[in-house]
């Protein structure tokens, strides 16, 4: 793990953010599973927005739906779901910052997330620049497919890595 990454953990450890998060997690009855469910519902919205859109671009799903129209309709859902997931995730991140910022799988999750967000943002911004941008030529359609494939894999890896944070010792077995 890079030093600046682990030092974020050290910075948060013992801060008021940690005490606030720990207070909520330990005082409000059922708070941990409820917040985790909110987090998974956010992932469900990721699946129902960008993942379905990527499957559509790859020609695998919902053939009647139009790519440009889908992008315009689904992207706000994705960005709101991500915002919600940042908040729900922050409770756990702030609660035990050292657990996450020293965890190599969390590092992978953040890396995949950055990849996924950049690819999706690129796709979204280009489609806003010009009506039917990605469908206007076969070259652009093939670029859209390449972006969609990478984006799809990145989003799935974010979810996958997220679950494996708890199982880090299976991959990085303690020496």
């Amino acid at each position: 793990m890079p030093d600046y990454f682990t030092s974020i953990g050290t910075l948060l450890d013992g801060s008021f953010l940690q005490s606030g998060a720990l207070w909520a997690l330990s005082t409000i009855p059922g708070f941990p599973p409820i917040i985790q469910t909110v987090h998974i519902l956010g992932i469900a919205v990721v699946m129902g927005s960008v993942v379905i859109l990527n499957l559509r671009i790859l020609g695998l799903a919902v053939p009647s739906q139009n790519i440009t129209e889908m992008t315009r309709r689904l992207m706000p859902w994705l960005w709101w779901a991500l915002t919600s997931n940042l908040v729900s995730g922050a409770f756990f991140l702030f609660g035990r910052p050292l657990r996450y910022f020293n965890n190599p799988i969390f590092g992978w999750k953040v890396s995949f997330l950055i990849c996924a967000v950049l690819l999706t943002l690129f796709f979204h911004l280009m489609s806003r620049r010009e009506e039917a941008y990605w469908e206007s030529s076969s070259k652009r359609l093939w670029s859209a497919r390449a972006v969609a494939l990478l984006s799809l894999m990145s989003w799935l890896m974010v979810a996958m890595a997220g679950r494996w944070i708890a199982y880090v010792e299976y991959i990085y077995y303690p020496a």
């Binding site: 941990p32 992932i43 699946m47 129902g48 379905i52 919902v62 199982y167």
Partner: protein, 164 residues
């Protein structure tokens, strides 16, 4: 509900497959696939539910939207069920008496009934409101129930891990 306390569940935990999954990286692997598949089930159902409520994708007929998503929902559901069973057998005896697990099964059954009611009773009259952006009350109730029940399945499912 005597069968919940049957020693047979212990036998299930002692299958060699149960030991293999429970004692290796197979368990977290199945669990992560389970989460992705379950999120996909709920995400695809959410798209149809929001259409039933008249909130989203109103340009598309309900029948088209649902027909194109259902195979994906079922595919993901099968994956979630297989991976779920794989995890279940590693702690079968404690799962069947776990209140969160029991809630999950009941909510799953209710969500299934709600879906069956939609597909077998309501769907017959589909032509009447297929393209309508403002949907009748009956559809709104089904869509809301589906959202609530599936969120409940997720909450109960997540809670299983906090009790075991």
């Amino acid at each position: 509900m005597g069968f919940l306390n049957s020693p047979k569940w212990i036998d299930v935990e002692n299958w060699s497959l149960s030991w293999t999954i429970g004692g290796t990286w197979w368990f977290p692997f199945l669990e992560s696939i389970h989460v992705i598949a379950a999120a996909f089930v709920v995400g695809s159902i959410l798209m149809v539910d929001l259409r039933l409520l008249g909130f989203a994708a109103v340009k598309y007929p309900i029948s088209t939207l649902s027909k194109e998503l259902v195979p994906w929902t079922w595919g993901a559901f099968v994956i979630a069920t297989v991976t779920g069973l794989g995890m279940f057998i590693t702690r079968a005896a404690s799962h069947v008496v776990n209140p969160a697990f029991q809630w999950k099964i009941v909510l799953l059954a209710l969500a299934g009934l709600n879906m069956a009611y939609f597909h077998f009773r309501i769907y017959k009259n589909i032509a009447r409101w297929d393209g309508a952006s403002s949907t009748p009350m009956q559809l709104k109730v089904i869509g809301s129930l589906s959202l609530l029940l599936w969120s409940g399945v997720m909450l109960a499912g997540r809670w299983v891990g906090h009790i075991i």
